[in-house]
């Protein structure tokens, strides 16, 4: 008997451009990943997790993610997250989640002012999350980044709080910070641990031929958690 395929929709905004890679990666990892249009007011039946992909939603005018935050599909994602649903935001998806207040901090233009597009070394700080369960704590991953606005910021007070609650689940390895993010932060969890955002692109690293398959550890963890939520009927 084959394992059940959890439904993990990928939300698409005008300007999203990593939705098909995310879809392909999730489907290869055993999920059904329908794409959901930004005007849709609800998520597909049986949704077990949601992915917000990379790109430039609505052109990313004003601030990255600032406008996508008000889209009907994001309202549905907010309601899903409020009920404990698993939400993963990648790059622009991460920016949207911070603008919506679902994740702490903000993403600012890279310190270098240059768009960065290359593999980076990451360190997994937490392996006890639905997004990193296939990793080990301290596990070093190689996953590409490609962004102009990936400099995660939190003021000292917020940073200290997030350190104490262990929400800073993924960091750039020492010397590998590509954008000037404070405390080398590459990915952040919400307080309840069901929403995660990261700047690197796991969906671009699921095939050794393309340089790394480490992204499959992140997306595979999500598929595992989504499948588990089906099994227990959450």
């Amino acid at each position: 008997m084959s394992e059940p395929r959890p439904v993990i929709p990928v939300v698409v905004w005008p300007g999203s451009n990593d939705d098909r890679d995310a879809q392909l990666a999730l489907e290869r990892l055993g999920a059904d990943a329908p794409r959901v249009w930004h005007t849709d007011e609800s998520l597909p039946r049986g949704t077990a997790a949601v992915v917000l992909p990379g790109g430039f939603s609505y052109g990313d005018y004003l601030r990255c993610g600032a406008i996508a935050r008000f889209s009907p599909a994001l309202r549905a994602v907010e309601a899903f997250a409020a009920g404990g649903g698993l939400v993963l935001g990648i790059c622009n998806g991460f920016q949207i989640l911070t603008e919506a207040g679902l994740l702490p901090g903000a993403l600012r233009p890279n310190e270098s002012l240059s768009f960065v597009c290359r593999d980076v070394a990451l360190v997994v700080e937490r392996a006890d999350t639905p997004f990193t369960s296939r990793c080990n704590p301290g596990h070093e991953l190689t996953i590409p980044v490609k962004h102009g606005d990936g400099c995660w910021f939190a003021d000292d007070e917020l940073l200290a709080h997030l350190e104490s609650t262990q929400q800073l689940a993924l960091r750039y390895a020492d010397g590998a910070n590509p954008n000037g993010a404070v405390a080398n932060v590459a990915g952040v969890l919400n307080a309840d641990g069901n929403v995660f955002g990261l700047m690197p692109h796991p969906e671009h690293a699921v095939e050794p031929l393309l340089g790394s398959a480490d992204g499959a550890l992140i997306l595979g963890s999500l598929v595992d958690a989504a499948r588990l939520s089906l099994a227990v009927g959450v």
């Binding site: 601030r63 903000a106 310190e111 270098s112 003021d155």
Partner: protein, 80 residues
């Protein structure tokens, strides 16, 4: 009536654009300290009541025009 919203990076926020401009100004021989780069938004409002305009602009800033974690704002309503 017309109004202008000035949006600035808060003190302490890294502003690489401001740093690049600051350094260029020095290269041109200007004796400058820090330069910071923000954004301005000109808005046309249908109301002619300055207080009402200001109240609406405050809400616009809170909901969309600024991210309060990293930006501060200043509202200037054009004199009637």
């Amino acid at each position: 009536m017309r109004a202008t919203v000035l949006v600035r990076p808060k003190p302490g926020i890294l502003d690489p654009q401001g740093q690049a401009v600051e350094s260029s100004l020095r290269h041109l021989g200007f004796d400058v300290g820090e330069a910071r780069i923000g954004r301005l938004v000109d808005v046309e409002l249908s109301t002619d009541d300055a207080d009402e305009a200001r109240a609406q602009l405050e809400r616009m800033c809170e909901q969309l025009l600024t991210n309060p974690l990293i930006e501060s704002y200043q509202i200037e309503v054009e004199a009637a």
